[in-house]
Amino acid sequence: MKWIDRQVARAVAAGRVGTPVALRAFLYLSEDHGRLMETVGAVLAAAGGWFSSPARRLYALGGAAHGEITVLAEFAGGQTALISAGLLRGPAPLANILVIGNKGTLRFEGPAVPEPAPPAVRRLLSAVERSLASGAAVEVG
């Protein structure tokens, strides 16, 4: 995931797709239910970096028991991200990432290695947990 994060950040910085405005990501990386939250958190954090804007509000669906966590997030600058992290149910870990800019798209599809979410993600994960528990959209805080 670090490689993807770095390459997307470079392409964005070079202005290759204009201003990044939206993200659609699927991550089926691990058979461990316990890693779904941190995978979602890591991608939310990466998206905030690509957008240069923090997540402001989000709504989460599913849960570890469901086998997939999906988060639809709004960022402070109006960008949006729809991220699904699910259990590995295929032959190999798969990440499918579509970064949409106002003048083009960046895409990655291939194997990826899950990595521990950085400590700064704690605030995002707390919001995801609150949304899953309440069934409501929540401010990231």
Binding site: V21, R24, F26, L61, T70, G78, L82, A136
Partner: protein, 375 residues
């Protein structure tokens, strides 16, 4: 043979449907008609369409609907007029071939459903559900190979229009109910493209949507921002039985995709998950050919909505990928004629399509309020 009355002409999807009815040996085109008090521009496009197809322009709609040789009404008028016109056609005893979305409000959609029920006619809304990839998704779900279905995720984004002109960053302020949907240079794109995905989700799962949280945005086009309609949207939903579903919908610009735009469904099952891409399988071509470039902007069709508009500015087809999304399958028109002949309900009747309109209205309400909306 079924006689088909075309309601709406050029600059509508009638440009796509009429040739399919004309090509099917079971149907023939009778004429082009519409309501009497329509804008001059719409009247001109209808007249031109009738001329191109060498059909009569039937200006008296009541008389056209009273004709015994008209069995089917193919309805492609502007979304804002669709509800009342479809009801009128159903009450005249005509089967309805309906453009998507079904109508501009949940109330109008329900009125169509009721009129169809009372008249005992067949109805079908055109979408993607008879394509090879959608049918593959359905086969996979029905086969049980995925295990219990947990989630469905749909992405449909149209790679059309000259993007990069919308003022950024500017979070969109949504209104509910939507006041207007269609303009010459813009449409509400969550509704335009989201309707396909909602139809697919309903058809694949057989479940009804219960809650919706949605966002609408202006990311790409000054035209959409100027008309105060979104060019992009996302929805996150719960369905009966604990299923979850999401979709992305919008128009993202000519240069954002090698072909028509991302189009895929991701199925998450208890045993297996798959991504089914409408652009797979494909043959990719890289050669010393003139690279594709966006067409000039057509003043009457700047977003590339219509086949006629794109032909008039000589838009070259994108040819980097060779794909066959229809194969030898019957077209949606052929499927609808099968339903009429065999006296059976379409998989995407007005009643099913009305569920999609209800979900879209919930999405606009959610985007306007920031709340999760329960249907």
């Amino acid at each position: 043979m079924y006689g088909v009355l075309l309601l709406g002409g050029l600059r509508t999807h009638q440009e796509n449907y009429a040739p399919l009815f004309a090509a099917d040996r079971r149907s023939r085109l009778i004429g082009v008609s519409d309501e009497p008090e329509i804008p001059a521009e719409r009247a001109r496009w209808n007249r031109e369409f009738a001329r191109q197809l060498k059909l009569p322009l039937l200006e008296d709609l009541d008389a056209a609907l009273a004709r015994p040789d008209v069995d089917i009404a193919s309805i492609c008028v502007e979304w804002e007029r669709r509800g009342r016109l479809a009801v009128r056609c159903a009450r005249a005893g005509k089967h309805l071939y309906l453009d998507k979305p079904l109508a501009g409000s949940a109330g109008e959609a329900r009125a169509i459903v009721e009129a169809v029920r009372q008249a005992g006619v067949r109805s079908h809304m055109d979408t993607h559900i008879r394509t090879t990839w959608a049918l593959e998704a359905r086969r996979l779900v029905d086969s049980g190979r995925l295990g219990e279905l947990r989630s469905v995720h749909c992405d449909l984004l149209f790679a059309k229009g000259r993007s990069g002109t919308a003022p950024l960053p500017r979070p969109r302020r949504e209104h509910f109910p939507p006041r207007r949907y269609t303009f010459v240079d813009a449409k509400r794109e969550l509704m335009t493209t989201g309707v396909y995905s909602l139809a697919l989700i309903g058809w694949l799962t057989g479940r009804r949507i219960r809650t919706v949280w949605a966002t609408t945005s202006n990311y790409f086009f000054a035209e959409h921002a100027r008309n105060d309609v979104e060019d992009f949207g996302m929805m996150a939903m719960t369905l009966d039985g604990g299923l979850t579903a999401t979709l992305t919908a919008g128009r993202i610009g000519w240069s954002a995709d090698p072909m028509g735009g991302p189009s895929r469904v991701t199925l998450v099952g208890a045993r297996r998950s798959v991504i089914i891409d409408a652009w797979q399988p494909r043959l990719e071509v890289y050669a010393e050919e003139i690279p594709w470039s966006p067409p000039p902007v057509h003043p009457e069709d700047p977003m590339g909505f219509w086949k006629s508009g794109q032909q008039e500015v000589h838009t070259r087809p994108k040819q980097a990928w060779i794909v066959d999304q229809q194969g030898n399958l019957p077209t949606e028109v052929g499927y609808f004629l099968d339903c009429i002949e065999q006296g059976r309900e379409s998989d995407l009747s007005a009643a099913r399509a009305a569920d999609g309109v209800e979900a879209l209205m919930a999405a606009y309400r959610s985007a306007a309020t920031g709340e999760v909306v329960t249907l």
